[in-house]
C-alpha cells in the first residue's frame, strides 16, 4: 500500500506491505536508520520518534498511520556540524557507550525537556523508563538530561 508522509519536513512516499510498521517504513523504505530496531514490542524505546508531535515507539505504529501525518526522527535534531543541546550533553556526560539506545534516548529526553524544562530526578526516571540501555547503568544518562536542561535554560 502506498504511504505518503513527511519525515523531518520532507515529503516522502513508499509502497509497503499492509503489516509494515512505521519503523520498517522509516528504516527499510525511506533510509532513516537513526531510529533503531531492538525489540519490536515497544519495550525498549530504541525507535522513539514523533508522530504529529507525539512521542511514539515507531515499531508499534502501523505504517499506514503515518499516511498524511508528520513524522520527526532523531535525524531532525542535529548533524555532524551542530548538535542539539541534548546530543551534546550526552557526549559531555559520557552517556553514550555502544550508542544503540542513544538516538531513542535522545529523542525521549528532548521530548521531556520540551514539556518540562527543569525536570527532577524522579521525573527524568519516569520519562525515560521506557528506554532501555544495557551499557551505561543510566547514571550518566540522568546526568546528561540535567546538563541539557541547564544548557537550555
Amino acid at each position: 500500500m502506498l504511504i505518503r508522509t513527511t519525515v523531518n519536513g520532507r515529503d516522502c512516499e513508499a509502497d509497503v506491505w499492509p503489516g509494515a510498521s512505521l519503523l520498517a517504513l522509516l528504516r527499510d523504505e525511506l533510509g532513516f536508520t537513526g531510529s533503531k530496531n531492538a525489540c519490536e514490542q515497544g519495550e525498549c524505546g530504541s525507535c522513539s520518534a514523533w508522530l504529529d508531535g507525539e512521542l511514539v515507539c515507531a515499531c508499534l505504529v502501523p505504517a499506514v498511520q503515518a499516511d498524511g501525518a508528520a513524522v520527526r526522527t532523531v535525524e531532525s535534531l542535529g548533524d555532524g556540524e551542530r548538535l542539539h543541546a541534548v546530543q551534546d550533553a550526552f557526549l559531555a556526560a559520557g552517556a553514550v557507550q555502544c550508542g544503540f539506545c542513544t538516538p531513542g534516548m535522545v529523542v525521549a529526553a528532548v521530548d521531556l525537556l520540551e514539556r518540562n524544562p527543569q525536570p527532577s530526578d524522579e521525573t527524568i526516571r519516569e520519562a525515560l523508563a521506557g528506554n532501555l540501555c544495557r551499557c551505561t547503568g543510566y547514571q550518566k544518562i540522568l546526568d546528561a538530561v540535567h546538563l541539557a536542561a541547564a544548557e537550555l535554560s
Binding site: W17, G19, D28, T33, G34, S35, K36, N37, A38, C39, E40, Q41, E43, C44, T73, V74, E75, L77, G78, D79, G80, E81, R82, L83, H84, A85, Q87, D88, F90, L91, A92, G94, V96, Q97, C98, G99, F100, C101, T102, P103, V106, E122, I124, R125, E126, A129, G130, N131, L132, C133, R134, C135, T136, G137, Y138, Q139, K140, I141, L142, L152
Partner: protein, 767 residues
C-alpha cells in the same frame, strides 16, 4: 536550541570525549543492522522447535517456489566444512541429521524482502523425530542420561588440588549450596551484518562481532574459501558483552550471498537474538570453608557445575576461569576445586562479562558471609584478615607477582558514605520499592546492606599466546601533524578507540587522531573481551608510538612515519594434572556495597545505592572507566533481582524484552565509583582492564543486602519476589554432583581430535 561541538582532543588521564560519539548521538553511526547494498536480499533462519530430534527429511520445494525467494539452503547444500566453533568445531552450520537444542538453525532463506524470507522459511517442511532431551545439568551426568554428543555429556572437568582440604587446623566449618540462573547479554543491537559476493569468488562481510580474525578462521573453511578471500570489516556493534564472540549470522549470510551472487543482509529480531547467541552459564556450586576461630581461612572445598548447553563455544575456558577463582580473593592454604561443564540439550552458553567469575563469586561471597556470622566477626573484617596481596599463593600454586590491592579496595569502600536515611512515609511514590506500580506507601520497608569482594583475570590464560597488532601513522598536515591508528580490534561501546587515541595524543603530542575502520587487512588484535584490550591493543599502540618517537629523534617529520607493533603479554601455562600452574597473567579486584530497601510483604526491591571500588592499575579515562563500572554494576544487579532465561524442556519461554527483564532507569540506583590506582608492573602504562569486575561482584553484593533486609537464605540468583517473601523455599540439593571420570584437565573434544578453533590460530602463529 543548538550548541557548537567543541574540539575534544586530550590525552591519557583525561575524560576525553568518545571518538565515535557524534555519529552515535545523531543516528548516523552504521550498526550491523543498518547496512544495505544495491540489489540486496534479506536472509532469514529457520530454527528447530525441538530440544533434541532426529531430522528424517527436509522438504524445501514449496519454500523455493515462494514469492521473491532466491535461495533456500539446508545441510545438504553445504559446500565444505559442516561445523564451526570458537574452541572446537562441534556446532553444525545447519542441523545435520539431528538437532541438539531448541533454536538450532536447520534452514536458511534469502528473499527480496524480510517478510518474503519469513514466509518461505515457514513453508519449509521438516520431518522431525523428537528424542528425549537432557535439559538438566546434573541429569546429564547420570549414567543412563541421553547423550547430547556421541562421546557423552562431559565437556571439560577441571581438578585443582592444593594442600589438604581436611586440614585439622580448621576449627569452624561452613557449608553452602548456591545456584545462578541463565543470564542473557541482551545487547540492544541485534546480531546483524551484510555479506557481499566479490568478483574473485570471495566474500566481503560487514558484521557486528568481537574478533574479526577468529570469525574468519571459522567462516572460510565452511565456505570452502582460503582465508584471504574472506574479508571482514567491522560494522557498528550495538553492545556485545561476550555474545558476539561466537559466529552468529556470518556463515549463513555468506553462504546465501555466494549461492545467489547478490548481497545478503541479516538482522535478528529480538526473539531470534535470544536463540542466536550464547548465554551466561547457569551454575550450581557446593562450597565448604574451614577456618580458625580467629577468622583465618584454612581450607576451601568446592564442587562446581556449569551447564554449557548443546555446543562447546568457550565453555572449556569458562569452567577453567570459574574453577581457578572458586575460593575467592583470599589466602587459603588448602583448596580443592572440582569444576565440570556439561553438554545438555539447551541453548549453548559461552562468554558473558565476567566469564565464569560472577557465578563463583556468588558462592564464595555468600559462604564468607555465613562464615562471618558463624565466627561472630564483621563480614568486611573477615575479608580483610584473609585478603590476597602481592606474593600470595593461589590454589593453582601461582604466586601473584603483580598488584593485588584487595585490602586497599575494601578500605576505600568502607570510607564511602552511606546513603541518607529516608522517611518511611510521605515520599514521592516512585521512590518506594515497586514505585512505578504504585503498590506501596512504605508500610513494610526494611533496609539491608551487603558486601561482595571478587576478582578475575585480565586477558587470556592457560598458555594462550595472547597478542594484539596495531599500526600508528604520523603525517605532517597543514595545521600540524596528524595521526591515525589502524587496528582490527573491535570497539563495541566500552571506549577502546577513545583510549587508543588518548595514548597516541599523549605519546606523540598530536591532537588530531583518526581511528580507521577495523578490517582483516590488519593483523589480529585478539578479541575485545576478557578486559584485555586496554592492555593488549593499548600496548600495541604504545609500542608503535615508541618506535615513531625513535624516528622523530633522528629527523623531523617530513614524510609519513608508519609503525606496526605487536604486543604480547608474558607467557602463561596450562594446568597440570593437579590443576597447578601459572595460568593467569594478571588479576583485577573489586568490592561493592549495596544498600537496598525491601517491601517484605510484597517482595519488591529498591536499590538505594551501590558503592563500587575497583582496582584499575591506572585509569586512562576517568569518565569512561566510571561508565564501565556503572554499566557492569547494573548488569550484575539484573542477575541479582530480575534476569533469568526461563527454560522449559529446553525451550526458552521468555525470549523477548517483555518477558526477559533488564534494569530500567527506574531500577538503577545511584552508583558511587572509586578506583584504586596501583600501576601493574609489566603492563603497558600500568593498566588493568575495567570492563568486567563490577559485574563479577554486583550480583553478590545486592543479594547479600537482600538477605540482610529479609533474613532469608536467598541461595539462588536471581532472588525473586517469591524468594523475598518466603513463598518459594531456598534451592535444595541432594548433595554435590559426582566428579566425572575423565582422561585429564583438557576439554574432552581435544582428546578426541575434534577440529580446533582458536588454538589453530595460536599454533599457526607459532609456526
Amino acid at each position: 536550541m543548538s550548541t557548537t561541538v567543541a574540539p575534544t582532543g586530550s590525552g591519557i588521564g583525561t575524560s576525553a570525549r568518545r571518538v565515535d560519539g557524534i555519529p552515535k548521538v545523531t543516528g548516523e553511526y552504521a550498526y550491523g543492522s543498518d547496512l544495505d547494498a544495491e540489489n540486496s536480499l534479506w536472509g532469514f533462519t529457520l530454527r528447530s522447535p525441538h530440544a533434541s530430534a532426529r531430522i528424517r527429511s527436509i522438504d524445501v520445494t514449496a519454500a523455493r517456489r515462494g514469492d521473491g525467494v532466491a535461495a533456500v539452503l539446508t545441510a545438504d547444500d553445504l559446500p565444505a566444512r559442516r561445523t564451526f566453533g570458537l574452541e572446537f568445531c562441534d556446532q553444525p552450520i545447519l542441523g545435520d541429521g539431528v538437532v541438539r537444542y531448541a533454536g538450532e538453525p536447520v534452514a536458511i532463506v534469502a528473499a527480496e524482502t524480510l517478510e518474503e524470507a519469513r514466509q518461505a522459511a515457514s513453508a519449509v517442511i521438516v520431518d522431525y523425530e523428537p528424542l528425549v532431551p537432557v535439559t538438566d545439568m546434573e541429569a546429564a551426568l547420570e549414567p543412563g542420561s541421553p547423550r547430547v554428543h556421541d562421546f557423552g555429556n562431559v565437556l571439560r572437568h577441571v581438578h585443582i588440588l592444593h594442600g589438604d582440604v581436611d586440614s585439622p587446623e580448621a576449627e569452624v566449618w561452613v557449608d553452602g549450596y548456591f545456584e545462578t540462573g541463565t543470564q542473557d547479554q541482551a545487547a540492544l543491537g541485534p546480531e546483524a551484518g551484510l555479506a557481499v559476493p566479490a568478483s574473485d569468488g570471495g566474500i566481503d562481510l560487514y558484521v557486528a562481532t568481537q574478533w574479526l580474525h577468529v570469525d574468519r578462521q571459522q567462516i572460510a573453511p565452511c565456505l570452502g574459501l582460503p582465508e584471504e578471500k574472506v574479508r571482514i570489516t567491522l560494522a557498528g556493534v550495538g553492545g556485545a558483552f561476550g555474545s558476539r564472540e561466537d559466529v552468529h549470522m556470518q556463515i549463513h549470510a555468506s553462504l546465501l550471498a555466494l549461492k545467489t551472487g547478490r548481497p545478503v543482509r541479516m538482522s535478528y529480531g529480538r526473539e531470534e537474538s535470544f536463540h542466536g547467541h550464547v548465554h551466561r552459564h547457569p551454575s550450581r556450586t557446593w562450597i565448604r570453608y574451614g577456618a580458625t576461630r580467629d577468622g583465618r581461612l584454612v581450607a576451601c572445598d568446592v564442587r562446581l557445575l556449569l551447564d554449557g548447553g548443546a555446543y562447546a563455544s568457550s565453555s572449556p575456558a569458562v569452567i577453567s576461569n570459574a574453577s581457578t577463582f572458586a575460593s575467592g580473593p583470599y589466602e587459603v592454604p588448602n583448596v580443592r576445586v572440582e569444576g565440570t561443564v556439561v553438554y545438555t540439550n539447551t541453548p549453548p552458553c559461552g562468554a558473558m562479562r565476567g566469564f565464569g567469575a560472577p557465578q563463583v563469586c556468588f558462592a564464595y561471597e555468600s559462604a564468607m558471609d555465613l562464615l562471618a556470622a558463624e565466627l561472630g566477626i564483621d563480614p568486611l573484617e573477615l575479608r580483610l584478615r584473609n585478603a590476597l596481596h602481592t606474593g600470595s599463593v593461589l590454589p593453582t600454586g601461582q604466586v601473584i607477582t603483580g598488584t593485588a590491592p584487595v585490602r586497599e579496595v575494601i578500605e576505600k569502600l568502607q570510607a564511602i558514605p552511606m546513603p541518607p536515611e529516608e522517611p518511611a512515609s510521605g515520599r514521592d511514590p516512585i521512590s518506594y520499592p515497586g514505585g512505578a506500580g504504585n503498590v506501596s506507601r512504605g508500610e513494610s520497608l526494611r533496609r539491608g546492606v551487603g558486601y561482595a569482594v571478587g576478582y578475575k583475570n585480565i586477558a587470556y590464560s592457560e598458555g594462550f599466546d595472547d597478542a594484539a597488532e596495531a599500526t600508528v601513522t604520523l603525517r605532517p598536515g597543514p595545521d600540524g601533524p596528524v595521526a591515525s591508528i589502524r587496528t582490527a580490534a573491535v570497539e563495541y561501546g566500552q571506549g577502546l578507540y577513545t583510549v587508543l587515541a588518548q595514548i597516541v595524543r599523549s605519546e606523540l603530542g598530536v591532537e588530531d587522531v583518526v581511528v580507521e575502520p577495523a578490517t582483516t587487512e590488519s593483523g589480529s588484535a585478539g578479541s575485545t573481551s576478557a578486559s584485555r584490550q586496554t592492555t593488549m591493543s593499548g600496548g600495541a599502540v604504545l609500542g608503535a608510538c615508541a618506535e615513531i618517537k625513535q624516528e622523530l629523534a633522528k629527523h623531523p617529520l617530513e614524510e609519513p612515519i608508519s609503525r606496526t607493533f605487536t604486543y604480547h603479554h608474558r607467557p602463561t601455562t596450562e594446568l597440570d594434572e593437579h590443576g597447578q600452574g601459572d595460568p593467569h597473567v594478571a588479576f583485577a579486584f573489586a568490592a561493592e556495597r549495596a544498600v537496598v530497601e525491601v517491601d517484605v510483604e510484597l517482595g519488591l526491591v529498591r536499590v538505594l545505592q551501590i558503592a563500587a571500588v575497583q582496582d584499575a592499575g591506572r585509569v586512562l579515562n576517568p569518565q569512561g572507566a566510571t561508565g564501565q563500572v556503572e554499566g557492569g554494576t547494573a548488569m550484575g544487579l539484573g542477575l541479582a533481582v530480575m534476569e533469568e532465561l526461563q527454560l522449559q524442556d529446553g525451550n526458552i519461554r521468555n525470549a523477548s524484552f517483555t518477558d526477559y527483564l533488564i534494569p530500567t532507569i527506574l531500577d538503577a540506583p545511584p552508583i558511587v565509583t572509586e578506583f584504586v590506582e596501583v600501576p601493574e608492573p609489566g603492563a603497558p602504562l600500568g593498566v588493568k582492564g575495567v570492563g568486567e569486575m563490577a559485574t563479577v561482584v554486583a550480583t553478590s553484593a545486592v543479594i547479600a543486602a537482600l538477605r540482610d533486609a529479609t533474613g532469608r537464605t536467598l541461595n539462588r540468583a536471581p532472588a525473586t519476589p517469591e524468594d523475598l517473601v518466603g513463598i518459594r523455599p531456598p534451592a535444595t540439593t541432594a548433595g554435590p554432583a559426582p566428579v566425572p571420570d575423565v582422561p585429564g584437565q583438557k576439554a574432552i573434544p581435544e582428546y578426541l581430535g575434534l577440529g580446533l578453533g582458536q588454538q589453530e590460530l595460536m599454533k599457526a602463529r607459532e609456526r
